[in-house]
Protein backbone atom coordinates (compact mmCIF):
# COMPACT_ATOMS: atom_id res chain seq x y z
CA UNK A 1 0.00 0.00 0.00
CA UNK A 2 1.47 3.37 -0.99
CA UNK A 3 1.71 6.29 1.41
CA UNK A 4 -0.97 8.20 -0.53
CA UNK A 5 -3.35 5.24 -0.48
CA UNK A 6 -2.81 4.69 3.23
CA UNK A 7 -3.54 8.32 4.09
CA UNK A 8 -6.62 8.50 1.85
CA UNK A 9 -8.04 5.39 3.53
CA UNK A 10 -7.18 6.84 6.94
CA UNK A 11 -8.89 10.12 6.04
CA UNK A 12 -12.08 8.21 5.29
CA UNK A 13 -11.92 5.92 8.35
CA UNK A 14 -14.10 8.05 10.66
CA UNK A 15 -16.60 9.59 8.24
CA UNK A 16 -17.37 10.09 4.54
CA UNK A 17 -15.48 12.99 2.99
CA UNK A 18 -15.48 14.82 -0.33
CA UNK A 19 -12.37 15.44 -2.47
CA UNK A 20 -11.25 18.66 -0.86
CA UNK A 21 -11.95 17.29 2.61
CA UNK A 22 -9.75 14.28 1.86
CA UNK A 23 -6.90 16.50 0.66
CA UNK A 24 -7.02 18.61 3.83
CA UNK A 25 -7.37 15.61 6.11
CA UNK A 26 -4.41 13.84 4.49
CA UNK A 27 -2.29 16.94 4.96
CA UNK A 28 -3.32 17.20 8.63
CA UNK A 29 -2.86 13.49 9.34
CA UNK A 30 0.62 13.52 7.87
CA UNK A 31 1.64 16.69 9.68
CA UNK A 32 1.94 18.50 6.36
CA UNK A 33 4.32 15.85 4.94
CA UNK A 34 1.89 14.54 2.31
CA UNK A 35 0.24 17.08 0.04
CA UNK A 36 -1.71 15.27 -2.64
CA UNK A 37 -2.32 16.96 -5.96
CA UNK A 38 -5.76 16.63 -7.47
CA UNK A 39 -4.54 14.36 -10.28
CA UNK A 40 -2.86 12.08 -7.75
CA UNK A 41 -5.91 12.07 -5.49
CA UNK A 42 -8.19 10.96 -8.30
CA UNK A 43 -5.71 8.29 -9.40
CA UNK A 44 -5.86 6.91 -5.86
CA UNK A 45 -9.67 7.24 -5.64
CA UNK A 46 -10.09 5.43 -8.98
CA UNK A 47 -7.85 2.59 -7.79
CA UNK A 48 -9.59 2.29 -4.42
CA UNK A 49 -12.99 2.32 -6.08
CA UNK A 50 -11.92 -0.38 -8.54
CA UNK A 51 -10.64 -2.49 -5.65
CA UNK A 52 -13.96 -1.91 -3.82
CA UNK A 53 -12.16 -0.39 -0.81
CA UNK A 54 -14.21 2.83 -1.07
CA UNK A 55 -17.60 3.69 -2.57
CA UNK A 56 -19.52 6.83 -3.39
CA UNK A 57 -21.54 7.77 -0.29
CA UNK A 58 -23.60 10.68 -1.63
CA UNK A 59 -23.56 13.71 -3.90
CA UNK A 60 -24.35 17.27 -2.86
CA UNK A 61 -24.60 20.44 -4.89
CA UNK A 62 -23.35 23.49 -2.98
CA UNK A 63 -23.52 26.91 -4.67
CA UNK A 64 -23.91 25.23 -8.04
CA UNK A 65 -20.89 22.98 -7.55
CA UNK A 66 -20.83 19.22 -7.22
CA UNK A 67 -19.42 17.55 -4.12
CA UNK A 68 -19.03 13.81 -4.02
CA UNK A 69 -18.56 12.13 -0.69
CA UNK A 70 -16.67 8.87 -0.46
CA UNK A 71 -16.69 6.33 2.36
CA UNK A 72 -14.80 3.20 3.29
CA UNK A 73 -16.33 -0.19 2.60
CA UNK A 74 -15.91 -3.09 5.00
CA UNK A 75 -13.08 -4.35 2.81
CA UNK A 76 -11.50 -0.90 2.93
CA UNK A 77 -11.68 -0.86 6.72
CA UNK A 78 -10.13 -4.34 6.88
CA UNK A 79 -7.33 -3.32 4.48
CA UNK A 80 -6.61 -0.18 6.51
CA UNK A 81 -6.68 -2.10 9.79
CA UNK A 82 -4.27 -4.70 8.45
CA UNK A 83 -1.93 -2.02 7.12
CA UNK A 84 -2.07 -0.05 10.38
CA UNK A 85 -1.29 -3.21 12.39
CA UNK A 86 1.60 -4.04 10.10
CA UNK A 87 3.01 -0.53 10.47
CA UNK A 88 2.49 -0.57 14.23
CA UNK A 89 4.34 -3.89 14.51
CA UNK A 90 7.22 -2.44 12.48
CA UNK A 91 7.30 0.72 14.61
CA UNK A 92 7.19 -1.33 17.82
CA UNK A 93 10.12 -3.48 16.64
CA UNK A 94 12.09 -0.36 15.75
CA UNK A 95 11.41 1.24 19.14
CA UNK A 96 12.47 -1.93 20.93
CA UNK A 97 15.74 -2.01 19.04
CA UNK A 98 16.34 1.66 19.72
CA UNK A 99 15.72 1.11 23.46
CA UNK A 100 18.07 -1.88 23.50
CA UNK A 101 20.70 0.17 21.75
CA UNK A 102 20.45 2.89 24.38
CA UNK A 103 20.66 0.39 27.26
CA UNK A 104 23.67 -1.47 25.85
CA UNK A 105 27.06 -0.53 27.44
CA UNK A 106 29.33 1.50 25.24
CA UNK A 107 31.62 -0.70 23.23
CA UNK A 108 35.38 -0.19 23.60
CA UNK A 109 36.87 1.62 20.66
CA UNK A 110 38.94 -0.78 18.58
CA UNK A 111 41.91 0.87 16.91
CA UNK A 112 41.66 0.56 13.14
CA UNK A 113 43.82 -2.15 11.63
CA UNK A 114 46.70 -0.68 9.71
CA UNK A 115 48.21 -2.02 6.55
CA UNK A 116 51.54 -2.31 8.37
CA UNK A 117 50.10 -4.42 11.16
CA UNK A 118 48.45 -6.84 8.79
CA UNK A 119 51.23 -7.10 6.29
CA UNK A 120 54.22 -6.75 8.58
CA UNK A 121 53.03 -9.18 11.27
CA UNK A 122 53.61 -6.71 14.13
CA UNK A 123 50.36 -7.51 15.90
Amino acid sequence: MTQATFFVLTALADQPRHGYGILREVEDLSGGEVRLRVGTLYGVLDRLTADALIVLDREEVQQGRLRRYYRLTDDGMRALTAEAERMAAGASAAQQRIAEGRRAPERPVTPPATGLGLAGGLA
Binding site: G19, R37, V38, Y42, G43, D46, R65
Partner: protein
Protein backbone atom coordinates in the same frame (compact mmCIF):
# COMPACT_ATOMS: atom_id res chain seq x y z
CA UNK B 1 -19.76 33.93 -13.81
CA UNK B 2 -16.79 31.83 -14.77
CA UNK B 3 -13.49 33.28 -13.61
CA UNK B 4 -10.26 33.19 -15.58
CA UNK B 5 -8.78 30.66 -13.15
CA UNK B 6 -11.75 28.33 -13.57
CA UNK B 7 -11.41 28.55 -17.35
CA UNK B 8 -7.72 27.76 -17.06
CA UNK B 9 -8.38 24.74 -14.88
CA UNK B 10 -11.04 23.52 -17.28
CA UNK B 11 -8.51 23.94 -20.10
CA UNK B 12 -6.00 21.77 -18.23
CA UNK B 13 -8.70 19.18 -17.51
CA UNK B 14 -9.27 18.85 -21.25
CA UNK B 15 -6.17 16.67 -21.19
CA UNK B 16 -8.39 14.00 -19.64
CA UNK B 17 -10.47 11.75 -21.91
CA UNK B 18 -14.07 12.80 -22.45
CA UNK B 19 -15.56 9.90 -20.47
CA UNK B 20 -13.46 10.86 -17.45
CA UNK B 21 -14.29 14.56 -17.71
CA UNK B 22 -18.00 13.81 -17.83
CA UNK B 23 -17.64 11.89 -14.61
CA UNK B 24 -15.18 14.02 -12.68
CA UNK B 25 -14.68 17.52 -14.12
CA UNK B 26 -17.16 19.41 -11.91
CA UNK B 27 -15.89 17.68 -8.82
CA UNK B 28 -12.27 18.47 -9.66
CA UNK B 29 -12.97 22.12 -10.47
CA UNK B 30 -14.72 22.38 -7.11
CA UNK B 31 -11.55 21.19 -5.37
CA UNK B 32 -9.28 23.50 -7.34
CA UNK B 33 -11.32 26.60 -6.55
CA UNK B 34 -12.24 25.69 -2.97
CA UNK B 35 -9.91 27.94 -1.04
CA UNK B 36 -9.01 30.49 -3.72
CA UNK B 37 -10.45 33.93 -3.05
CA UNK B 38 -12.84 34.81 -5.87
CA UNK B 39 -11.34 38.31 -6.07
CA UNK B 40 -7.91 36.91 -6.95
CA UNK B 41 -9.06 34.18 -9.30
CA UNK B 42 -8.42 36.24 -12.40
CA UNK B 43 -4.75 36.67 -11.44
CA UNK B 44 -4.00 33.03 -10.63
CA UNK B 45 -2.90 30.15 -12.81
CA UNK B 46 -2.68 26.38 -12.35
CA UNK B 47 0.78 25.46 -11.11
CA UNK B 48 3.13 23.27 -13.14
CA UNK B 49 2.75 20.51 -10.54
CA UNK B 50 -1.04 20.55 -10.93
CA UNK B 51 -0.75 20.39 -14.70
CA UNK B 52 1.77 17.53 -14.45
CA UNK B 53 -0.47 15.53 -12.12
CA UNK B 54 -3.43 15.93 -14.48
CA UNK B 55 -1.22 14.98 -17.46
CA UNK B 56 -0.14 11.82 -15.63
CA UNK B 57 -3.76 11.01 -14.78
CA UNK B 58 -4.75 11.66 -18.41
CA UNK B 59 -2.11 9.24 -19.67
CA UNK B 60 -3.14 6.59 -17.20
CA UNK B 61 -6.86 6.92 -17.93
CA UNK B 62 -6.24 6.76 -21.69
CA UNK B 63 -4.14 3.63 -21.32
CA UNK B 64 -6.76 1.53 -19.66
CA UNK B 65 -7.11 2.45 -16.01
CA UNK B 66 -9.63 0.54 -13.93
CA UNK B 67 -13.18 1.09 -15.16
CA UNK B 68 -12.14 2.67 -18.47
CA UNK B 69 -14.40 2.15 -21.49
CA UNK B 70 -13.48 -0.64 -23.90
CA UNK B 71 -11.57 1.46 -26.51
CA UNK B 72 -9.20 2.83 -23.85
CA UNK B 73 -8.87 -0.61 -22.35
CA UNK B 74 -7.86 -1.99 -25.76
CA UNK B 75 -5.47 0.90 -26.39
CA UNK B 76 -3.79 0.26 -23.04
CA UNK B 77 -3.46 -3.46 -23.79
CA UNK B 78 -1.99 -2.74 -27.24
CA UNK B 79 0.59 -0.27 -25.85
CA UNK B 80 1.55 -2.71 -23.10
CA UNK B 81 2.08 -5.50 -25.62
CA UNK B 82 4.00 -3.17 -27.94
CA UNK B 83 6.31 -2.21 -25.07
CA UNK B 84 6.83 -5.85 -24.10
CA UNK B 85 7.59 -7.03 -27.66
CA UNK B 86 9.83 -4.03 -28.37
CA UNK B 87 11.80 -4.49 -25.14
CA UNK B 88 12.25 -8.19 -25.93
CA UNK B 89 13.44 -7.41 -29.45
CA UNK B 90 15.92 -4.78 -28.30
CA UNK B 91 17.18 -6.93 -25.43
CA UNK B 92 17.89 -9.95 -27.62
CA UNK B 93 19.31 -7.76 -30.39
CA UNK B 94 21.84 -6.05 -28.11
CA UNK B 95 22.97 -9.28 -26.49
CA UNK B 96 23.41 -11.00 -29.87
CA UNK B 97 25.24 -7.97 -31.28
CA UNK B 98 27.66 -7.80 -28.35
CA UNK B 99 28.27 -11.55 -28.28
CA UNK B 100 28.90 -11.74 -32.04
CA UNK B 101 31.13 -8.65 -31.96
CA UNK B 102 33.22 -9.97 -29.09
CA UNK B 103 33.44 -13.44 -30.63
CA UNK B 104 34.55 -12.02 -33.97
CA UNK B 105 37.19 -9.79 -32.37
CA UNK B 106 38.51 -12.55 -30.13
CA UNK B 107 38.79 -15.22 -32.80
CA UNK B 108 40.32 -13.29 -35.70
CA UNK B 109 43.77 -12.57 -34.40
CA UNK B 110 45.42 -9.88 -32.28
CA UNK B 111 45.03 -7.19 -34.94
CA UNK B 112 41.25 -7.60 -34.91
CA UNK B 113 41.17 -7.55 -31.11
CA UNK B 114 43.34 -4.42 -31.01
CA UNK B 115 40.98 -2.73 -33.45
CA UNK B 116 38.01 -3.68 -31.28
CA UNK B 117 39.64 -2.34 -28.12
CA UNK B 118 40.91 0.82 -29.82
CA UNK B 119 37.27 1.62 -30.60
CA UNK B 120 37.04 2.46 -26.88
CA UNK B 121 40.49 3.82 -26.11
CA UNK B 122 41.66 5.69 -29.20
CA UNK B 123 40.02 9.01 -28.34
CA UNK B 124 41.26 9.58 -24.81
CA UNK B 125 39.98 8.65 -21.35
CA UNK B 126 36.91 10.92 -21.29
CA UNK B 127 35.50 9.60 -24.55
CA UNK B 128 36.50 6.06 -23.53
CA UNK B 129 34.06 6.30 -20.63
CA UNK B 130 31.35 7.44 -23.03
CA UNK B 131 32.15 4.61 -25.45
CA UNK B 132 32.02 2.01 -22.69
CA UNK B 133 28.66 3.43 -21.54
CA UNK B 134 27.34 3.33 -25.10
CA UNK B 135 28.48 -0.30 -25.35
CA UNK B 136 27.21 -1.45 -21.96
CA UNK B 137 24.03 0.52 -21.18
CA UNK B 138 21.88 -1.03 -23.95
CA UNK B 139 22.41 -4.41 -22.24
CA UNK B 140 19.97 -3.08 -19.65
CA UNK B 141 17.15 -3.84 -22.11
CA UNK B 142 17.58 -7.42 -20.91
CA UNK B 143 17.19 -6.34 -17.30
CA UNK B 144 14.11 -4.32 -18.30
CA UNK B 145 12.59 -7.32 -20.08
CA UNK B 146 12.95 -9.79 -17.23
CA UNK B 147 12.08 -7.18 -14.59
CA UNK B 148 8.88 -6.35 -16.48
CA UNK B 149 7.83 -9.98 -16.69
CA UNK B 150 8.58 -10.51 -13.00
CA UNK B 151 6.51 -7.52 -11.91
CA UNK B 152 9.50 -5.35 -10.92
CA UNK B 153 8.06 -2.29 -12.64
CA UNK B 154 10.34 0.36 -11.20
CA UNK B 155 13.46 -1.62 -12.11
CA UNK B 156 12.03 -2.21 -15.59
CA UNK B 157 11.34 1.49 -16.12
CA UNK B 158 14.74 2.69 -14.90
CA UNK B 159 16.55 0.01 -16.91
CA UNK B 160 14.67 0.87 -20.10
CA UNK B 161 15.33 4.60 -19.74
CA UNK B 162 19.03 3.99 -19.09
CA UNK B 163 19.21 1.53 -21.98
CA UNK B 164 17.73 4.12 -24.35
CA UNK B 165 20.18 6.85 -23.29
CA UNK B 166 23.07 5.86 -25.63
CA UNK B 167 20.87 6.57 -28.67
CA UNK B 168 21.34 10.26 -27.83
CA UNK B 169 25.14 10.00 -27.89
CA UNK B 170 25.50 10.40 -31.70
CA UNK B 171 23.75 13.76 -31.37
CA UNK B 172 25.94 14.87 -28.44
CA UNK B 173 29.29 13.47 -29.61
CA UNK B 174 29.91 16.08 -32.34
CA UNK B 175 29.50 18.78 -29.69
CA UNK B 176 32.23 17.39 -27.41
CA UNK B 177 34.58 15.75 -29.89
CA UNK B 178 35.79 15.93 -33.47
CA UNK B 179 33.18 13.40 -34.59
CA UNK B 180 31.13 14.17 -37.65
CA UNK B 181 27.40 14.74 -37.20
CA UNK B 182 25.50 11.46 -37.53
CA UNK B 183 23.49 10.18 -40.47
CA UNK B 184 20.37 12.02 -39.36
CA UNK B 185 17.60 9.75 -40.64
CA UNK B 186 19.01 6.50 -39.28
CA UNK B 187 20.17 7.96 -35.97
CA UNK B 188 16.87 9.72 -35.42
CA UNK B 189 14.71 6.71 -36.23
CA UNK B 190 16.88 4.45 -34.04
CA UNK B 191 16.59 6.89 -31.15
CA UNK B 192 12.85 7.20 -31.78
CA UNK B 193 12.45 3.42 -31.67
CA UNK B 194 14.32 3.11 -28.37
CA UNK B 195 12.61 6.05 -26.69
CA UNK B 196 9.14 5.07 -27.84
CA UNK B 197 9.77 1.64 -26.36
CA UNK B 198 10.97 3.07 -23.05
CA UNK B 199 8.13 5.61 -22.86
CA UNK B 200 5.49 3.01 -23.74
CA UNK B 201 6.84 0.80 -20.98
CA UNK B 202 6.78 3.67 -18.46
CA UNK B 203 3.32 4.89 -19.45
CA UNK B 204 1.39 1.68 -19.99
CA UNK B 205 2.89 -0.71 -17.44
CA UNK B 206 1.74 1.25 -14.42
CA UNK B 207 0.68 -0.08 -11.04
CA UNK B 208 -2.99 -0.37 -11.97
CA UNK B 209 -2.31 -2.21 -15.23
CA UNK B 210 -2.56 -6.00 -15.42
CA UNK B 211 0.79 -7.77 -15.03
CA UNK B 212 2.89 -8.19 -18.16
CA UNK B 213 2.80 -11.65 -19.67
CA UNK B 214 3.81 -13.12 -23.00
CA UNK B 215 1.00 -14.55 -25.16
CA UNK B 216 3.07 -17.69 -25.73
CA UNK B 217 6.01 -19.26 -23.92
CA UNK B 218 8.08 -18.38 -20.90
CA UNK B 219 10.29 -15.26 -20.67
CA UNK B 220 13.56 -17.18 -20.88
CA UNK B 221 12.41 -19.32 -23.78
CA UNK B 222 11.18 -16.31 -25.77
CA UNK B 223 14.45 -14.48 -25.14
CA UNK B 224 16.54 -17.49 -26.15
CA UNK B 225 14.42 -18.06 -29.27
CA UNK B 226 14.87 -14.43 -30.36
CA UNK B 227 18.61 -14.68 -29.75
CA UNK B 228 18.91 -17.88 -31.78
CA UNK B 229 16.91 -16.46 -34.71
CA UNK B 230 18.97 -13.25 -34.72
CA UNK B 231 22.28 -15.07 -34.42
CA UNK B 232 21.35 -17.51 -37.16
CA UNK B 233 20.24 -14.71 -39.48
CA UNK B 234 23.63 -13.00 -39.14
CA UNK B 235 25.54 -16.24 -39.61
CA UNK B 236 23.53 -17.13 -42.72
CA UNK B 237 23.92 -13.68 -44.26
CA UNK B 238 26.74 -11.78 -42.56
CA UNK B 239 25.98 -8.09 -42.84
CA UNK B 240 28.57 -6.49 -40.60
CA UNK B 241 27.43 -2.90 -41.00
CA UNK B 242 23.71 -3.61 -40.88
CA UNK B 243 22.49 -3.44 -37.30
CA UNK B 244 18.84 -3.63 -38.38
CA UNK B 245 19.17 -6.97 -40.16
CA UNK B 246 18.99 -9.31 -37.14
CA UNK B 247 16.12 -7.65 -35.22
CA UNK B 248 14.10 -7.14 -38.42
CA UNK B 249 14.53 -10.82 -39.36
CA UNK B 250 13.53 -11.87 -35.86
CA UNK B 251 10.45 -9.64 -36.01
CA UNK B 252 9.47 -11.10 -39.40
CA UNK B 253 9.79 -14.67 -38.11
CA UNK B 254 7.97 -13.83 -34.87
CA UNK B 255 5.13 -11.94 -36.58
CA UNK B 256 4.64 -14.71 -39.12
CA UNK B 257 4.57 -17.28 -36.31
CA UNK B 258 2.10 -15.15 -34.37
CA UNK B 259 -0.22 -14.86 -37.41
CA UNK B 260 -0.18 -18.64 -37.85
CA UNK B 261 -0.82 -19.17 -34.13
CA UNK B 262 -3.64 -16.66 -34.15
CA UNK B 263 -5.27 -18.29 -37.20
CA UNK B 264 -5.78 -21.45 -35.10
CA UNK B 265 -7.64 -19.55 -32.38
CA UNK B 266 -11.35 -18.84 -32.56
CA UNK B 267 -11.60 -15.99 -30.08
CA UNK B 268 -10.66 -12.41 -30.86
CA UNK B 269 -8.95 -11.69 -27.56
CA UNK B 270 -5.68 -11.36 -29.45
CA UNK B 271 -6.78 -8.21 -31.33
CA UNK B 272 -4.39 -6.02 -29.37
CA UNK B 273 -1.52 -8.31 -30.32
CA UNK B 274 -1.98 -7.64 -34.03
CA UNK B 275 -2.11 -3.87 -33.48
CA UNK B 276 0.95 -3.94 -31.22
CA UNK B 277 2.92 -5.99 -33.74
CA UNK B 278 1.79 -3.74 -36.60
CA UNK B 279 3.10 -0.64 -34.79
CA UNK B 280 6.33 -2.41 -33.89
CA UNK B 281 6.74 -3.56 -37.50
CA UNK B 282 6.08 -0.06 -38.81
CA UNK B 283 8.78 1.37 -36.54
CA UNK B 284 11.24 -1.33 -37.62
CA UNK B 285 10.37 -0.67 -41.25
CA UNK B 286 11.12 3.02 -40.74
CA UNK B 287 14.52 2.21 -39.23
CA UNK B 288 15.11 -0.32 -42.04
CA UNK B 289 14.42 2.24 -44.75
CA UNK B 290 16.44 4.93 -42.95
CA UNK B 291 19.43 2.55 -42.78
CA UNK B 292 18.98 1.47 -46.38
CA UNK B 293 18.55 4.88 -47.97
CA UNK B 294 22.18 6.15 -47.66
CA UNK B 295 23.44 2.94 -49.36
CA UNK B 296 21.51 3.48 -52.57
CA UNK B 297 24.10 5.83 -54.12
CA UNK B 298 27.17 3.96 -52.82
CA UNK B 299 28.99 0.80 -53.95
CA UNK B 300 27.45 -1.55 -51.39
CA UNK B 301 27.73 -5.30 -52.19
CA UNK B 302 24.67 -6.53 -54.08
CA UNK B 303 24.02 -9.20 -51.44
CA UNK B 304 23.83 -6.64 -48.66
CA UNK B 305 21.65 -4.25 -50.63
CA UNK B 306 19.43 -7.06 -51.93
CA UNK B 307 19.04 -8.56 -48.47
CA UNK B 308 18.02 -5.22 -46.99
CA UNK B 309 15.59 -4.51 -49.84
CA UNK B 310 13.95 -7.92 -49.53
CA UNK B 311 13.68 -7.41 -45.78
CA UNK B 312 12.03 -4.02 -46.26
CA UNK B 313 9.52 -5.61 -48.63
CA UNK B 314 8.69 -8.41 -46.20
CA UNK B 315 8.30 -5.94 -43.35
CA UNK B 316 5.93 -3.79 -45.44
CA UNK B 317 3.81 -6.81 -46.29
CA UNK B 318 3.68 -7.99 -42.69
CA UNK B 319 2.75 -4.54 -41.38
CA UNK B 320 -0.10 -4.33 -43.90
CA UNK B 321 -1.40 -7.82 -43.00
CA UNK B 322 -1.11 -7.18 -39.26
CA UNK B 323 -2.92 -3.85 -39.58
CA UNK B 324 -5.78 -5.48 -41.49
CA UNK B 325 -6.00 -8.41 -39.04
CA UNK B 326 -5.86 -6.06 -36.06
CA UNK B 327 -8.55 -3.81 -37.54
CA UNK B 328 -10.86 -6.76 -38.23
CA UNK B 329 -10.30 -8.22 -34.76
CA UNK B 330 -11.06 -4.87 -33.14
CA UNK B 331 -14.23 -4.48 -35.18
CA UNK B 332 -15.31 -8.03 -34.26
CA UNK B 333 -14.58 -7.42 -30.59
CA UNK B 334 -16.81 -4.30 -30.37
Amino acid sequence: MTTLLESRYRMVLRLLPAYYRREREEEMVEIYLWDVDRETQDQSRPTLGEVASIAALALRTRLGAAGAPRPYDRLGAAVRLFALFAVLLQAASVVVDRVLGLTWAATHGPAQWDMYVSGFTARGPALAVAEVAVWALPLLWTVAYFALLHGRLRLARVSALLAALPTLWPFLAPLVSTWFPPSTAFTTTSALFSWLTALALCAAHHRDAPPASLPVGTPGLAFAACGVVMGASVVLLPLAADTVWAPATCFAVGALGWLLWRARRDDRSTACGAIALAVLGLLLLTVRVAALYPWLGTPVPALVLGGALVQAGILSLLVAVLAVVGGRDLAAAR
